[in-house]
Every structure is written in structure tokens, then in C-alpha cells.
Symmetry: C2
Subunit: 345 residues, 2 copies
């Protein structure tokens, strides 16, 4: 059976010119699924006409909404002032079960505030987290939190670990994913107090726990890497920065003169494969975990291919029963914890 | 006039087999400088004999010490139990002004604890920080703290900024280096409370201040990047991890078959230049800033070339009058702050 995905058609730097073609590309591959394009009907229809999409496609619907959340708009302004925004209405469709998941390239703060307000957090989860996949030497790693929570307690980190582990189970069908707690130092200072305490909680949990350092993320040492949102965001941006710099060095090197340009030509298949392995567009689509509904955030500047990858992620989460997995897992942990008099299981 | 550098000859994974040849390589280029090799005389002499170094070199001395700090030894055990270690005696030579700087590849925790105990911190500096240079797209950036302080106040971050800025002035002769405070998020949550407050302090200071994100580090947006030791260590290790992964991808790609191996051969000059630009050995040598003396920490696994780079860094700091620069700068700031009734200037 197919899943229904609500798309915030107006979100992101490029709006309908990316979200609509990406949705059509997705439906090409997944005819069994349904897409609901949420936003200004005229703008969406104009884009569909441009693409020559027939009016009567059974797996495509437009859901009109009158407002658009700006990319720089304050979360509270979007939340209070724009109740009919394409972002909010997409989330409403998840809340009312008319859609199994929603995808938005709108601004992160507004999306998180709205999703949290409309959907609420799962029982046992204090704060939602942002999780995303990154490439590793051996495959991929799921990392969270990537920026939703800048100040976290040990308990929060445990909850992130629980959610990340369950996401990997739902998406990759791994029974007991390995979970790494991001820490520093092999010699002297072993992390701050919060991380030390989180390590103890994880050790006592039934999660498959490891301590990891920054360089382990990309070695693929664990399936999941957990950290607070400040550290996660810095690590993510640092990784992007290094990748960009190295790509730039290679480009400069191969572009230097006629000889190096010939070398580039000869090396084209290798360079193309290299680029593909690192293509961040393939990893587009960050999951907001811990909510009573599936919300996937696309990068604001995503192109059509990248946005399609985010839709793919949302659909995979819906198909994999991510929400049921997390609810069940968290409930079990929550009950065990209450039975232990408030201590984490 | 030359400078005198004390070398902890026994430190690091490889001890004298790296530190002694690196010292000789350094003296080849800097005959005006003096090196004092600190450690077990027999081991050092054997290594010098192996290299065929004549006994009467005027710019080379052996300073005997009887103990060696282990790479996994607890800082407190090294500090209290090994008063005649090559590490401690090297620092003592800086304290007594017999050397202008010292270099050790010994364990970070023990080196920091000992340096702090023997040399003490500069007036106005609460905690020493670890600073190192990293390659950027346009040159290099000085980043601190890289792991000495996992929990920092806004005031500490300001002190790091002050020290980093002064280090760049001393080493690169830039009058007013740009200083970036590492933060997250362009949209919603703009960093945690400490970083926000540090931003205010930096804004009010006479430093050339910018807010930066993880990806800005490697763009070379600023001369200095400041963050707490936990974040800095994670960023550093993450960068290393990504660089290693990408290097691995390239190697795999070019090694795949006969055709790609030919492409690698044709591309050799480009790949060599690429490797050189990213060669972490060239950036070996982390400065312990905020102490009343120059201490440079080499990576424990450094090879001869990398250790020589660390000696080079120590000598540059001594020649550039790094200590005087920092003392002066910090004193000025400290006085202005006291005149303002305890508020940072």
C-alpha cells in the first residue's frame, strides 16, 4: 500500500520551481504513493502546467493554503501569525492523518516550532531532535542532534540515542544498531560532565553503546552518533567545510594547466565516482524525531534532485513505521524508568 | 640572535628515534639556534652517534634527566611522581630562562598539568588554551581551544580570543587579525547562552570580531576561530575524519583497475600537490597559550618531519616575542577591565 506525503510546495529558496518537479520525479518512481502539494493553487498549477502534468492524476492533489512563511521569518511570527501557511497546513495534514508524513524546505526554526506545537512530542520525549544521514567510509551514519537543542542534559542525549537507534531500525532494518556518544580525548580529559553522565545512562540502557570521537563519525564506527545540537551542528558544518575545501583543491589542481586538464579528462570516471560518493544532495532530508508525526526538513537551497531525496526519506520513514517503532521503544523505556523510580532503564 | 629550544627527547610514541633526527634537521636550517635535548643521556647519545653527529657541536646540548612520562600516564601521577622526567625538566628550562621554548610529543594531559604547575598562567588568564593552525582554502587559520577546557564561560572564550589574536600577530605580523567566534545557525537558534554572551563581550572588545559557523573555518573567513575545548576538539577530529575519508575514496577510485591506475599516474603531480596542501604534518605543533612560557605540543605519533615542524613553531613563537605580545595585550585588557569595575573592556 502506498503512503501519502504532504509537500510544503512554497518552502525553500526556490519554492514551487523545485518542490513541484521534485514531487513529479518522485511519483514517476513511486506510482503507488500519493503526493499532496500544499500552497498557493495558482503557483502550483502554473508549475504543473509547465511540466505538462495532466489534471486528473489520481495520486496527486493540490491543497490550497493562502500564506507563505519567509526563510528569515521568526519562528514565533510564523507560528502565531500564519495559521494558513503552506508549512503549517502540511503539518496539519499529518496531524489529521490525511498524510503519513510531510516535507518542507522552509526555515528550520519555524518548521520545528510549528511541528512541535501542532503535533506535540511523544510521551517520554522532552525535546524533538534533528537527525540526518551522512556518508562514511563504509556506508552511512545517522547523526543527531544537528541543531534543535543547544543545551542538553544527559537524559536528553539518552533520548536522542533511543530515537536515533529506532530510526535506523525502521529505515535499515537493523535489529540492534550501534550507537556512539560523541566525546573527546583518549588521554586526559574525557568529555564534559553531561557527556560523562550520558555515557553512564547509555551504558545502563539496552542500547548497543560505544564512545566515539569526531574522526570516528566518518569511519563508520557506529550506525548512530549522538551529541547535543551545538556540537552536532558544528561537526556537520565543519565536515561540509572540509569537503568543500578539498573539492576546491582538487578542482584547482586539475584546472592548473593544459597537462593537468588532460589528467582530469583521463581521470573523469574516477572523479565522477568520487563526487557521487560525497554528493550531499543524496543525504538531503533531516528527520525531526520525537514528534507525534513524521516531518522531514529539506535544505532550503535544495535543487530538484535533493528535494526528491528528502521526499524519499519521508516516504521511507512512513513505510518503515518509524513512528510506531519509536513510540513503542520510548514507551517501553519510559515504563521501565518509572518502575525504577524515575531512573533511566 | 638565535633562540634556545628545549626538546623533551623521550616524549611521543617514537621517543629519541624521532625527536633527535628532527632536532638535527631543524639545526641544519637554523644554525643560529640552540637545541637542548632533555632525557636519558645514553639513549640520546646513541641516536646522535647513529646519525654521525660530532660531539662538539656548539648549538647542541644534552641535558640529562632520569625519568620518562608514559603516553597513558595520568597527569597527576606524572606531576607528582616524576619530578625528573624529560617533560618536566624541559619545562623547568623554560621557567629558568635557560630555554626560550620547549617542545614535547608527550601526553597532552600530563604536559598541560605540568606546564601549568611549573610556569603558572599569565595574570588575567584563568585557563591556558590549546591553539593550532589548520589549512584553509586561502591559507591557514589559528583555532582554539582544542581540548584543554571542556566547560568554558563567556569570559574564558574572550580570553582565548585575545590570546589567539595575539599569537597571529606575533607569528604572522598581522596588526589586527580577524577573530571568529564559532556559533551555529543562521536562522533560528543562534547558539547557546555562553556563546551569545561571549559574542557580546567580543563585540565590546577592541578585537576584530566576526561570528562564524563550522563551514567558515575552512573558507578562511577569519585568522582566528575561538570555541570551547569540547567543540574545538570535535571540530578538529571531524575535519581529520572527513579528510581521511575523502583521501580514502580517491585512493580507492584511482586504484580500482588498470585504467584508473593509468589515470592516477597521469594525475600524479596534481595528486601530490593535493596531498601536500592537506599534509597535517605541516600543521603539527599546538601552542599552549596563557602560560608564562612557550610550550608546544607535538602530536604523539609525529614522524621526524612533523616533529621538526613543531620545533619550528616553538622557535617562531620565541622569535616573534609571542609571550611579550600576549602579556602586554592581556595586561592592557586586564587593567581596562578593572578600571571598568570588573567588566571586560
Amino acid at each position: 500500500m502506498g503512503v501519502t506525503i504532504a509537500i510544503d510546495a512554497m518552502g525553500g529558496d526556490h519554492g514551487v520551481s523545485v518542490t513541484v518537479p521534485a514531487s513529479m520525479a518522485y511519483l514517476e518512481k513511486h506510482a503507488e504513493d500519493v503526493i499532496v502539494l500544499v500552497g498557493l493553487t495558482d503557483a502550483i498549477q502554473a508549475e504543473l502546467d509547465k511540466l505538462g502534468v495532466p489534471q486528473d492524476r489520481s495520486n496527486l492533489r493540490i491543497h490550497h493554503s493562502t500564506e507563505v512563511v519567509g526563510m528569515d521569518e521568526q519562528p514565533q511570527s510564523a507560528l502565531r501569525g500564519k495559521k494558513d501557511s503552506s508549512m503549517r497546513v502540511s503539518i496539519n495534514l499529518v496531524k489529521s492523518n490525511e498524510a503519513s508524513a510531510c516535507v518542507s524546505a522552509g526555515n528550520t526554526g519555524a518548521l520545528m516550532a510549528t511541528a512541535r506545537y501542532v503535533l506535540k512530542t511523544l510521551p517520554g520525549i522532552d525535546r524533538p531532535a534533528i537527525a540526518s544521514y551522512l556518508p562514511t567510509h563504509t556506508g552511512q551514519v545517522c547523526m543527531l542532534d544537528l541543531g534543535a537543542n543547544v543545551d542538553c542534559t544527559a537524559e536528553h542525549l539518552l533520548q536522542f540515542a533511543l530515537m536515533g537507534s529506532t530510526l535506523v531500525t525502521a529505515l535499515e532494518h537493523k535489529a540492534s544498531p550501534t550507537v556512539g556518544l560523541l566525546n573527546i580525548g583518549s588521554e586526559d580529559i574525557k568529555g564534559n560532565e553531561t557527556v560523562k553522565k550520558a555515557g553512564e545512562l547509555l551504558q545502563a540502557s539496552d542500547l548497543n553503546f560505544y564512545g566515539v570521537e569526531g574522526d570516528d563519525i566518518f569511519k563508520g564506527v557506529t550506525d548512530v552518533v549522538v551529541c547535543d545540537g551545538f556540537v552536532g551542528n558544528v561537526a556537520l558544518k565543519t565536515a561540509e567545510g572540509v569537503a568543500k575545501m578539498m573539492g576546491g583543491f582538487l578542482k584547482e589542481g586539475f584546472g592548473r594547466n593544459a597537462l593537468t586538464k588532460i589528467a582530469a579528462l583521463v581521470s573523469l570516471p574516477v572523479l565522477k565516482a568520487f563526487k557521487h560518493r560525497l554528493d550531499h544532495r543524496r543525504y538531503n532530508g533531516a528527520s525531526f524525531l520525537g514528534l507525534k508525526g513524521i516531518v522531514v526538513k529539506s535544505h532550503g537551497s535544495a535543487d530538484t534532485f535533493a528535494f526528491e531525496c528528502a521526499i524519499e526519506r519521508a516516504a521511507e520513514e512512513a513505510r518503515g513505521g518509524m513512528l510506531e517503532h519509536i513510540s513503542e521503544h520510548v514507551e517501553k523505556w519510559h515504563n521501565a524508568r518509572q518502575a525504577n523510580g524515575g531512573e533511566a532503564a
